[in-house]
């Protein structure tokens, strides 16, 4: 069995940033395991621009953004293995992996950083009735076919779901000569970033139909048409509102699910809301020495936040390798309430925490002219007004260690949305 201080599972934006930060924090023995044939993860197929505004103050494409982190990993001489699938992780941090040249091998790690990313919700999970012909793709699969393989999945397109990849693909398919007829969204609001709705739909005259879903897929061999209908407040289609679109392609952009099958093999506790691990302020899971970051932890909107979060996980994993388990100290629970769906982290250790800890979350519906509030125990310590908040965009609050120290007896911090 080989030994490494830190094994990073996944060489996408999260894994790269975590590994780089761990190395800079003084850990030399680091190995990144990547299942695809390149580092960079899903960014490699995101050839549009708009990445890195927060981190680099410039607009990069996905591959360019990934390259900056890859270059850092190369400069830091961090080891990595490509085309390598991790098959199992134990709670004792034995990682079993496999590739063509090394066969199946095991590594004893001192710390493990989970950075496997997420997958798209498939058609089956949406229970869309109708036939099951060719021509139904998750938006990311279509994106890979177009941007990596160089093939067009179809000419006339209907898109269900207004997640960011779906919006980006509406524009991409249009630029490649396809006709995108409509984007239908089940919810009364979009699941994607506002800027993507403007730049990818509005600028190309593609209609977005909110509170609509697909009620039938036609075509026995290849898709020949899609019927959509309006849904009521109960999310059920309203009879009589059906609209038929002839098309050869249906793209699905109906949500992303963190890929935590491996985390489960190690016994990592998952949140039923995010489907990602439950972590404390150091992004450590319930299994000591196993950390999580990026979309495997919770689905992000901007990669910049992934990189920040991952760097934090890398730094904390390095700290764990150097100092070992911290004597168990007091933990304060962070409660998501009144429109806040979840928070990452879920708990905070007032004595162990960094000087500041960023708490990220998403809201459950669109809020206009409202405020994000935070309470230490019963006392309001923050009220920040926001004109608009939507489920498609991540929000955050920052907890200061010094301020929390003024509340030594509280057992709970609450984050809420309230009227402004």
């Amino acid at each position: 069995m080989q030994n490494y201080d830190i094994v990073v599972i996944g060489g996408g934006p999260a894994g790269l940033a975590a590994a780089a930060e761990a190395k800079k924090s003084g850990i030399d023995s680091i190995l990144i395991l990547e299942r695809d044939h390149d580092l960079g993860g899903i960014l490699n197929q995101c050839i549009h621009n708009g990445f890195g505004l927060h981190t680099f103050k410039e607009e990069l494409t996905g591959p360019e953004y990934a390259q900056r982190f890859m270059d850092e990993v190369f400069d830091l001489k961090i080891e990595y293995k490509l085309n390598t699938m991790v098959m199992d992780i134990t709670a004792d941090k034995i990682v079993t992996a496999m590739n063509k040249t090394d066969g199946m091998f095991q590594i004893q790690a001192k710390a493990v950083i989970l950075a496997m990313g997420c997958r798209e919700r498939p058609r089956g999970a949406l229970n869309i009735p109708g036939y099951r012909p060719a021509g139904i793709f998750s938006a990311g699969t279509a994106q890979r076919l177009v941007n990596i393989e160089g093939y067009m999945p179809g000419k006339e397109v209907v898109i269900l779901g207004s997640g960011d990849i779906g919006l980006i693909m509406a524009r991409r398919m249009t630029l490649e000569g396809a006709k995108v007829k409509v984007v239908a969204e089940l919810m009364p609001y979009s699941g994607g970033l506002k800027r993507n709705i403007v730049q990818c739909l509005d600028d190309y005259g593609i209609p977005l139909k909110l509170s609509h879903t697909v009620v039938d897929i036609e075509g026995k061999e290849r898709v020949t048409g899609i019927t959509i209908a309006e849904v009521g407040p109960d999310m059920k289609p309203i009879p009589g509102t059906e609209e038929y679109y002839s098309c050869d392609t249906l793209l699905l952009s109906c949500g992303l699910l963190p890929e935590n099958e491996l985390s489960k093999t190690a016994g990592v506790e998952l949140s039923p809301i995010t489907s990602g691990p439950v972590v404390n302020d150091s992004l450590e899971t319930n299994i000591e020495g196993i950390f999580a970051c990026g979309n495997v932890l919770h689905v992000h909107d901007l990669v910049d936040f992934v990189s920040q979060e991952a760097a934090n996980a890398g730094k904390n994993a390095a700290k764990y390798v150097k100092n070992g388990k911290t004597a168990s100290t007091k933990e304060v629970k962070i409660k998501a309430a009144c429109g806040v769906r979840y928070t990452v982290p879920c708990t905070i250790r007032p004595e162990e925490m960094d000087d500041t800890v960023t708490v990220r979350f998403r809201v459950g519906q669109v809020f206009k002219d409202s405020a994000i509030t935070m309470y230490f125990g019963d006392e309001q310590v923050l009220k920040r007004k926001k004109q608009i908040m939507a489920p498609g965009e991540m929000e955050q609050v920052i907890i200061q260690k010094s301020k929390l120290a003024d509340f030594p007896d509280i057992s709970e911090i609450t984050v809420k949305i309230e009227t402004a």
Binding site: R35, M85, A125, P129, Y131, E221
Partner: protein
């Protein structure tokens, strides 16, 4: 050339007959309108090997079900087919209907089903803790089982092929007639085939061919069944196959683990007109969820469904298998009305068709008949050392292509290269499970397309989901075509 036997349809019945006939010195050919075996009714069903207590006593269905069930252990061992006797439970949720279980028990005993037992409320809840609290008792049939229906069908076809049976795919039969010399002329979309005997194993279409040659008409209704397949996380929710008490409409909605560890819920029973109409409906799927919930509790059917699908039962008006040579069409052997328990009965159906033909032809047995088939290697059954040995020899087994089901490139290559190998994404999926997991081929389909392209020389833009017009990515990007970028 004049074949001795032509079988119409490469479903489970046709392929069972083909394998049985491959024991003899006969020229046998299977004509299939789709691009692969197992492309109709055989691919979309409950994947259950029924014990045999359901069919009316004395019926051919009852006889072949029990025989087929008994043949399954040897067949699955010989042909390397995933099969498990997990046992079946027919559960009763109304005290006043407990007598129905006894009736079913008696019928089962009459049909020759072994080891049946009626379980009390306490016994059955102890056995299956996730049964609904309303369950008052059950009939337990330990001989009930679960199988991979694809591999059952594919394995019999491969074995028949290795033993000399021809398969012609994309060959739809249009009409057939018998000439004065007693030779059958079968017109297909790809030309005419001649044969001395015809086996009509055409599933929901069997009535059309029957009615072309016989005055005694039969009528088959496609009876659609919708199913939901749940994530492997739910595979252990029940260990037996859970049936409600049967009604005149059929065996009802079952909940069962699959042999690969998922949980299956279904089917509905909806009579339709169109013989290709396998579209699911919202009503169908929601009724499943409701009905399954009456017998099994805590089914998170909404959240854990990874796919839903529908299959068609070939329901003949008299609800009985028709396996016989037609009196007014000598040389034409029907294998019609094969609905549930058709999959369970298939080995016995094949044997019966063989017996009918042997009686007529009196063929000579082959001395070099190959009785066994080795399936696609499942590397997860190997130890770490064995797996490393394998990867050293065949590095492709070290490259995972389908991450959800952990399917390696080696397995996919085997599926393409073996006899009657896969030629489409669905062909690969049914042989290896690549694309059958929780992401439903989202990640692996471009990679499987690439392997099919490299192995078979099919251009990427011509690779299909399941043959015909089911092309995945029909065009190159402008820039790839060298045109305007």
């Amino acid at each position: 050339m004049i074949y001795d036997v032509i079988i119409i349809g490469a479903g489970v019945s046709g392929c069972a007959a083909a394998r049985e006939l491959s024991r003899y010195q006969l020229n046998v050919c299977v004509l299939e309108r789709e691009e692969d075996v197992c492309s109709g009714t055989s691919k979309a069903n409950s994947a259950i090997i029924h014990a045999g207590f359901d069919a009316p006593a004395g019926s051919l269905m009852a006889k072949l079900n029990v025989e087929g069930n008994e043949m399954m252990d040897d067949l699955c061992r010989d042909l390397d087919i995933p099969f498990k006797r997990n046992g079946s439970l027919v559960v009763c949720i109304h005290k006043e209907e407990l007598d129905g279980l006894k009736e079913l028990y008696d019928r089962g005993v009459q049909n020759g089903v072994k080891d049946l037992k009626i379980l009390s409320k306490e016994e059955v809840h102890k056995m299956e803790p996730n049964l609904s609290d309303n369950v008052e008792g059950a009939l337990y049939a330990p001989t009930g089982g679960i199988i991979c229906p694809f591999i059952l069908n594919i394995a019999m076809a491969e074995n028949a092929n290795v033993n000399g049976v021809d398969f012609r795919f994309n060959t739809e039969v249009e009409s057939l007639k018998r000439d004065d010399a007693g030779i059958w002329h079968i017109r297909t979309c790809t030309g005419e085939y001649l044969t001395k005997y015809v086996v009509n194993a055409a599933g929901v279409y069997a009535d059309q061919f029957h009615n072309m040659v016989s005055e005694n008409k039969i009528h088959i209704t496609p009876r659609r069944g919708d199913y939901c397949l749940l994530d492997k996380e739910m595979g252990g929710h029940v260990s037996c196959t859970i049936f409600p008490q049967p009604t005149k409409f059929g065996k009802g909605v079952l909940v069962s683990p699959t042999v690969h560890g998922n949980l299956i819920v279904g089917p509905t029973a909806i009579d339709i007109e169109d013989k290709d109409s396998t579209a699911t409906t919202a009503e169908g799927i929601s009724s499943l969820i409701e009905k399954a919930g009456m017998n099994v509790k805590d089914l998170p059917v909404g959240r854990k469904v990874i796919t839903s699908f529908a299959g068609l039962r070939a329901h003949e008006d008299h609800h009985e298998f028709i396996i016989e040579e037609l009196k007014d069409a000598p040389g034409f052997i029907d294998c019609a009305g094969i609905e549930s328990p058709g999959l369970s009965s298939s080995p016995a159906i094949g044997r019966m068709v063989k017996d009918i033909l042997c009686e007529r032809i009196k063929p000579v047995e082959k001395e070099d008949w190959i009785a066994t088939r080795k399936g696609i290697l499942n590397p997860t059954e190997l130890s770490l050392e064995e797996r490393n040995e394998l990867i050293k020899k065949e590095p492709a087994y070290g490259q995972i292509i389908c991450r959800c089901e952990s399917v390696s490139e080696g397995e996919i290559l085997d599926a393409i290269r073996r006899p009657l190998g896969a030629r489409s994404l669905d062909g690969v999926k049914r042989r290896t499970r690549a694309g059958m997991g929780r992401c439903q081929a989202g990640f692996c389909s471009p990679r499987v397309m690439e392997i099919l392209h490299n192995e078979l020389g099919i251009p990427m833009e011509k690779i299909t989901k399941s043959g015909g017009k089911s092309v995945i990515a029909p065009d190159l990007l402008k820039v790839q075509k060298g045109g305007e970028a």
